[in-house]
């Protein structure tokens, strides 16, 4: 498989830096959990019911809502391809693990994905680059409204949208923003910020959700409450917290530059050297170096590397992508070799070629 072709297929809408605060905010994601009234939730339904839910939803999506969706059943997709979809944040690990009856509908530009028979019958997801909470919600909401005309949703006047997990009941909405916060991490302020944010009804986690660390200093901030607040109130509160985090991160960056410029430059350029020339690149090291280089670009210490390459590499460095790229299963050492090779190729290709390949809407 040619490098270029692989990259073209792999880059998805949200990876191309765009939208507000794109230097710090990597992506915005809205997820709506919905269920059909007449069926048990996936945790308890029978195989026949699972099949039926899949059919009802696909009929509604393919005939009524929008053409141009691709439809993939999990059981027909090789494990590695599922992993790639997870690494692109287009489906959840839970759907990938699943389930004979899980499936996903993907819009052509991959900004909308509808997961079927994950924890709920439907999970409508919209993912955009940068900070675009309102746009992403609007798009997810449009899809939801179009589907609701065809599908009898489980809804209750008192409790709202009925979901399998009580932590989603109500709006069924989880809004999350992925932030690159290296300066807050370096200065250890993040440890004080995380508990403060959770007191405001929001959660900060590593980029892969519950229980995950923050590789590459990427954090996910999302709403915890789904009852008692409207979607717009939740989005406004999240936007408020995110903008405060961004301001805080910017101040810390300035302070770092001011107080310890040489140490910072040293760290940034050593990391650039590592990812440009290493022959073995373990994922933790790759993530750390990418974070440093990204910071270096943001602070204009590094001027000849395109940010878009960095966003791609953060995704491509993962094991599913690398194995897909090499076209075979790899041991952990082979993964480290392959990762180093990919990084060298991408960084040598230089900005002009990268632009051609990633400049998609």
């Amino acid at each position: 498989m040619g490098n270029k072709r692989f990259m073209q297929n792999a880059v998805t809408g949200w990876m191309v830096p765009h939208g507000e605060h794109a230097d710090i905010v990597m992506s915005t994601r809205i997820r709506l959990a919905r269920n059909l009234r007449e069926f048990r939730f996936p945790i308890a339904f029978s195989d026949e019911q699972a099949e039926e839910v899949g059919e009802i939803v696909s009929e509604a999506l393919l005939s009524e809502v929008e053409k141009g969706y691709s439809y993939t059943r999990m059981k027909e997709l090789p494990q590695l391809d599922r992993q790639v979809l997870v690494e692109k944040h287009l489906i959840s690990p839970q759907l990938a693990d699943a389930e004979q009856f899980g499936s996903v509908f993907l819009s052509e530009d991959e900004t909308i994905s509808v997961m079927v028979n994950e924890e709920d019958h439907l999970r409508i997801q919209c993912i955009y680059p940068g900070l675009q909470l309102e746009n992403a919600y609007q798009k997810a909401n449009e899809t939801d409204s179009a589907l609701e005309k065809k599908l009898p949703y489980a809804f209750d006047e008192e409790f709202g949208y009925l979901t399998s997990c009580p932590s989603n009941t109500g709006t069924g909405m989880r809004a999350s923003v992925m932030l690159h916060l290296p300066a807050l991490t370096i200065t250890r302020q993040i440890n004080r910020i995380i508990p403060a944010v959770s007191r405001l009804g929001m959660v900060v986690r590593g980029s892969y959700g519950e229980g995950s660390e923050a590789p590459g200093n990427v954090y996910q901030v999302s709403n915890q409450l789904t009852l008692g607040k409207s979607e717009n109130e939740i989005l406004a509160e999240l936007a408020n917290i995110v903008s405060r985090l961004i301001a805080h991160e910017r101040r810390s960056r300035e302070l770092l530059l001011e107080k310890s410029r040489i140490a910072l430059e040293n760290r940034v350029f050593r990391s650039l050297g590592t990812i440009s020339y290493a022959r073995l690149l373990p994922s933790a090291e790759a993530a750390r170096c990418l974070s440093d280089v990204r910071l270096g670009i943001d602070l204009e210490l590094i001027e000849d590397v395109e940010m878009s390459i960095l966003n791609e590499l953060m995704i491509f460095m993962q094991s599913g992508f690398l194995q897909h790229y090499e076209g075979e299963e790899l041991t952990s050492e082979e993964l480290d070799i392959s990762r180093a090779k990919l990084f060298r190729e991408r960084l040598k290709n230089g900005p002009s070629k990268a632009d051609e390949q990633t400049d998609r809407p």
């Binding site: 269920n35 009234r37 007449e38 069926f39 048990r40 939730f41 996936p42 945790i43 308890a44 339904f45 839970q94 693990d97 699943a98 389930e99 004979q100 924890e119 909401n141 939801d144 409204s145 609701e148 005309k149 009898p152 949703y153 489980a154 809804f155 209750d156 006047e157 008192e158 409790f159 709202g160 949208y161 009925l162 979901t163 399998s164 997990c165 009580p166 932590s167 009941t169 109500g170 709006t171 909405m173 009804g201 519950e210 229980g211 915890q224 409450l225 789904t226 009852l227 008692g228 607040k229 409207s230 979607e231 109130e233």
Partner: protein
């Protein structure tokens, strides 16, 4: 790790079972854990944070034993067979009807999970909105009719009665079209 029971799905629930030969640990997926009739949950397991949260918060000062005895009196969900006790253990509902079955208990659960909030305040599906509007209209007309009767304006009351009848037919048609609303 794959679920020990179905060997298909990822295990996400650790079950501690007391046997004659001492406690054993079983790794199951949520679905198999749901279907298993009797189990207790290890308190230090990681993946079930909601479950932990629920059992910790709900037990409060009551002992778990008392709590268990109390909740076992709760009815079983007629649709999926989930008991309230098991709902607390697995932290998940089995079907939309569970909400109806456990309705009285749920404000307490949601209050703990959602910072004291127990009522939905967001989007309402369009079809539901129409039904809710019609229901409100009927209630309003009924109140007017009662007032008319008390004031002995029977002609007016008869007009209102017919109007209510019309709206009820519209509501029935709505329900027919979109299926009945949950809890109606």
């Amino acid at each position: 790790m794959l679920c020990e029971n179905c060997k298909e799905r990822q295990a996400s629930v650790i079950l501690m079972q007391d046997t004659q030969n001492g406690p054993i640990e079983r790794n199951l997926c949520e679905k198999c854990a749901f279907n298993l009739q009797t189990f207790s949950i290890s308190p230090n397991q990681e993946p079930m944070s909601i479950q932990q949260f629920l059992s910790q918060w709900l037990s409060g000062s009551e002992s778990l034993h008392q709590q268990t005895r109390e909740v076992q009196k709760m009815p079983e969900c007629p649709e999926c067979g989930l008991t309230f006790h098991r709902f607390l253990e697995i932290g998940k509902f089995g079907c939309p009807t569970c909400y109806e079955t456990f309705r009285e208990r749920l404000p307490k659960v949601f209050g703990k999970l959602h910072n004291g909030n127990t009522n939905h305040k967001g989007k309402i599906p369009a079809s539901f909105n129409e039904k809710m509007t019609i229901k409100k209209k009927i209630e309003e007309l009924r109140t007017n009719m009662q007032e008319a009767i008390q004031e002995e304006q029977f002609e007016q009351a008869a007009v209102l009665r017919d109007e209510i009848k019309d709206w009820k037919q519209k509501l029935a048609a709505e329900i027919e079209e979109g299926g009945s609303a949950h809890g109606e």
